[in-house]
Symmetry: C2
Subunit: 260 residues, 2 copies
């Protein structure tokens, strides 16, 4: 069945490995018969900084509260056009793929600014005006799939379970869990290419083939089993319940590995 | 003894809690006799996006490689003035304090873009042209202190050891360890104020008093005991040595708690 897939990417150089992956993604999805939506953040000259310009019709001109103004702009239809357009793409998409180079163990600022601005109050959080009721598995993007495709400069060893940088999936937990799962998306395990600046042409071809193969399972692959807030694992929507928490700690306590 | 302290902050609203904390920091440091340097990112209209404009004199006009152009611009004195100015402030400072609201479990884009752009190749990484030799405890900022002061919208329970968001210090590990400790800074435990949007005036006064008290120990407080890459805990500068690794996993394996 034809699906819609949004590709959000943050790399301005057309010959970069990131962009080669974007091209491979577009080709693969089109070959599968899917519709592709693109957000080429550098080409769009995406405004990274979330500021007073995001609120052309202020609720309170005397004091800039981001939460208050964001909720006001969203609920009254007074957001800027660029933000509205990205929200509509997200709502239209069945899956979202993010392509970016890992900069300082996180998102490039232009992509972080896409999150900061597009995730309005009432959209990315505070869904249905119900505070924190709909989050972590429930929310406006529930049922959609999300996948990070990351180009990493350093060697894989540095991101291995005992590697000096820390494990990649834990470094990216604020994004996979905090940004993508938060408003309800099913998040697939991050796809990383390591030593990205030093790959030979044949290695690049191999990496792209592996990626294309993976994309064929985009709608079948099992997501990271993050625990749903409203699935019974948390007390009062806040803290892991005693029967779950035993012996667990840290970020990965929020991944349910009981079936694996 | 008089010290220099750089305050980098990312909140445009003068009456915000973040800015009240910035004012308290300035006052406290001046009362202690220290010199204060300020980087008010919103007022400076800091350019968040790292892009081709950062390299007015390109090494390679045909292909934009951020690492290559960053190293070229830094080593040949062709960086943009705004980046040079921030690097000079960092080099002059004995300590750096970052004030920001936590947005989507990370830095606001404008502050992430400060890192992306100021941490040039040869400065933030690739120090002395020696690849990864100087990092995680060694580097151009070695011996300086760093401290995050974060305003958090959600309740503290959500960031507690088993809280649904994950523990704050792990969510911020990519910043404390990956950004600040990486080029050699001693990083103090993160200072967080939770439920920041809902504090009563008296609660704010209490929080500021606690913060000011803490600042009096800025140069005495023990930093997070991150393991130094070159301190004997890592094999070949990459993976935790066997005698350290036993039973450890995840981000916190890189914190040495053996003395505590």
């Amino acid at each position: 069945m034809t699906k819609k897939v949004l590709i959000v990417y943050a790399q301005p150089e057309p010959t970069s490995l990131t962009r080669q992956f974007v091209e491979a993604t577009v080709q693969s999805l089109q070959e599968q018969g899917h519709d592709v939506l693109l957000s080429d953040l550098y080409a769009m000259r995406w405004k990274a900084t979330f500021d007073e310009q995001d609120f052309p019709c202020r609720a309170d001109l005397g004091r800039l509260s981001f939460i208050k103004e964001s909720g006001h702009a969203y609920s009254t239809g007074r957001q800027t056009d660029d933000v509205v357009s990205e929200q509509q793409k997200l709502l239209a998409a069945d899956a979202v793929i993010f392509h970016f180079p890992l900069w300082w163990f996180g998102l490039p600022a232009i992509l972080k600014g896409w999150i900061d601005r597009v995730y309005a109050y009432g959209f990315g959080y505070g869904y249905k005006g119900k505070g924190n009721l709909y989050r972590y598995g429930d929310g406006i993007l529930k049922g959609k799939r999300a996948l990070l495709s990351v180009m990493v400069g350093g060697p894989e060893a540095d991101y291995s379970p005992l590697g000096i940088n820390g494990p990649l999936e834990e470094l990216l937990f604020p994004v996979t869990h905090g940004v993508l799962f938060y408003p309800g998306m099913d998040v697939l395990p991050t796809h990383a290419v390591y030593g990205a600046a030093h790959l030979a042409k044949t290695e690049i071809a191999t990496e792209i083939a592996v990626w294309r193969k993976r994309l064929e399972q985009l709608f079948e692959e099992a997501p990271i089993p993050f625990r749903r807030q409203n699935g019974g694992d948390y007390k009062d929507n806040h803290i892991l319940a005693d029967h779950i928490a035993f012996g667990k700690s840290g970020l990965l306590a929020h991944v349910d590995t009981s079936d694996t």
